[in-house]
Amino acid sequence: MNLADHWLFSYQALARHRLRSAMILLAIAMGVSSVLLLTSIGEGARLFIEQEFSGLGSKMLIVLPGKKETTGSAPPIYGTTPRDLTIEDAHALKTIHSISHVAPIIAGTATVSNQSLSRDIIILGTNIDMFTIRNLTLKQGSMLPKNSESRATQVCIIGAKLAKELFKNNSPLGQWLRIGEYKYRVIGLLEQRGESLGLDLRDMAIIPVRSAQILFDSPALFRILLQLKQSEYETSTIVQVNKVISQRHEGKADITIISQDAMLSAFNKIIVAVTASIGAIAAISLFVAGILIMNVSYISVSQRREEIGLLKSLGASAKEVRQIFVISSLVITSFGTLAGLVFSYSIVFIIHANFPNIPLAIPWWSTLSAIFMSFIIALLFSWLPANKAATVDPILALRG
């Protein structure tokens, strides 16, 4: 029997029982599309985060004060150390050739007020390099002064939400704003960009880093952001940053350096693990579909006993009979899988076309494994019924 014969035979058998074929097809398609659609949500989340990161500029290093030798622990997020990381330390990093931009950050909370309106928000003290590194742009007004690291100028740039809360519909440019005990002139308004990795820049004020040092009465930097000239320099730059800091800190490199790649791959690992386990849970439904295949195959074996007997008496071997049944369930499974693939990809396509903001993407690995799994299941679950068909005694079967 060649492949075309097999195909014809299976097709006839399936077409004769349209309803049950359709139901198996439906069951397989449900299983396949639940795997694909659920993993597409996870993959979408992964892509979303990747995109957020690349929005930060791709060649960034983050320097945190403090260091921990505990294996596998989180980085020292508190950033409190006996030896502060200072603006001068950040300045010294500019001597490293592979670094193009250095943004020291002092962060703190304070009450910001304009006449009777006030708001408690996060204040970022930094310099103009911050705008390059984080891809921030101004909607109106002017940048922080170039000498933000050396002089405490009383100026600030504010986010859109803060501007709305404190100035209503008036233009904030040129107005005076009270932050803590000091007054700052608003010189710029940030372009609205929304949340960026947990920092709501719409509700923030940015002031020169030297002014922040005075405002919070502390020279300690919260972070230093570095931008590399080329991402290949990452490893060597990390070594050099440690060297420069330890020269300045009595031989102790008491800092932690996080690269953007390391952060991204940590996120990726977690999300892929979650996505894969959700996919695996969805795959249980393929298993249930497999049981249905087995059940229906048994029924068709017993309904087609006479036919099998005839085939066998005409010289078909047990192996050929087994093949007939296995192939027929593989055929219906491939239709079901195809239906599931078409359905899922079109759903994702339609959502993508209508709501471009919802990130959905079917990962290649889930597509492959869904196809692979459904064929394995079809094989496994049709094996027993096919065996039963293969052992049918032709004489008994023909006698009815």
Partner: protein, 398 residues
Amino acid sequence: MRLTDYLTWVYRAVNAQKRRTLLTIFGFSVGISAVILLNAIGESLRQYILQEFTQFGSHIVAVMPGKTETFGVGGLLNTVRPMTLDDAISLERLPAAKYVVPVVMGTAQVKWYQRGRYTDVAGITSPALNAWQLTLAQGKFLPADDILTPRDLAVLGHTLKQELFANNNAIGEKIHVGSHSFRVIGVLKPKGEFMGVNLDDMVYIPTAKALRLFNRNSVMEIDIFYHENIATEKFSQQISKLLISRHNSEDFTLITQDDMLKSLDKILRFVKYAAAGLGVISLLVGAVGIITILTITVTERSQEIGLLRALGFSSAHIRYFFLGEAIVISLTSGILGYIISMALLFIAQLFMPTMPIVFEPFVLMLTLIISVIIGALAGWKPASKAAKLEPVLALRAE
């Protein structure tokens, strides 16, 4: 027709095709088990995390300097309105306050002769021993010195002690934390992690010393453990009132354990229901199985149905026969699925004794009800098909 006749009919129908019925039941029960198991895993996870959070009791209020309306990191950042040790002292005077622990966290190099280790430093006060339920392996905990002028004493976590001293005696030894020197007076037993922070790889020093070490004027957080006989809201109001009168404005953030647990619980419940929702897909596929098999059965038995109709059975009777069969199959699946899940959970508990496994009778009831409903829905189409068969045509079929 009497009920017993009806039941006998359904029983015979189910029994006549044993393998077919068993496979259908098995398929559907896999779906049921998926839902129950995922729900149970979600519930265990919820309880595990809540236990983690309530291990220090649930009567805790944390006060952090700075008031941010948008962000929850308050204490870590700088602030123009510091929260001081004097605030902690005045909070201690509240009659309902049991333990008050002002906390400063940071990292520093801890050194003993030539051996050094960069690790976490926790600035705390003596009530932390009871409040955080720490246990000593050796020596004593930080004594109840004056909060503002404590002595230079330190207590080491288990891992840190091993890293610095190995098997040497640590008690009474002088160590350096940053550039300050401290005398070790105690070593803690292993405690594990709390929210990603390893409590064993840590040196505990008095808060006032930590403030000086880190050159800070504000503590990061004041944890207040209070007596159980006062309502959370009342106590938080007392704290707010006291601090507002000291600072002349509400420049702090107050988080009660209750609030935190509530929002955490919300998230965890969502995760649990989402997990159970994933299981429902398998259940639906199982329902497709019931529909398919029953339809096949109806076709096979059309002759028999025709005979019954010819003998005067109404189409409603026929419908009930097949609906009954569907419900018996789904109900059995429900029970089987529940038994499978419980067996699997029981085995899981043998391997993970710390994971709480919850038996919810409510879930069993719900499972059975849902099984019956899905069974009835799945059986409806085939049963109607059977009911609509023309007796004459059905008899002629063969």
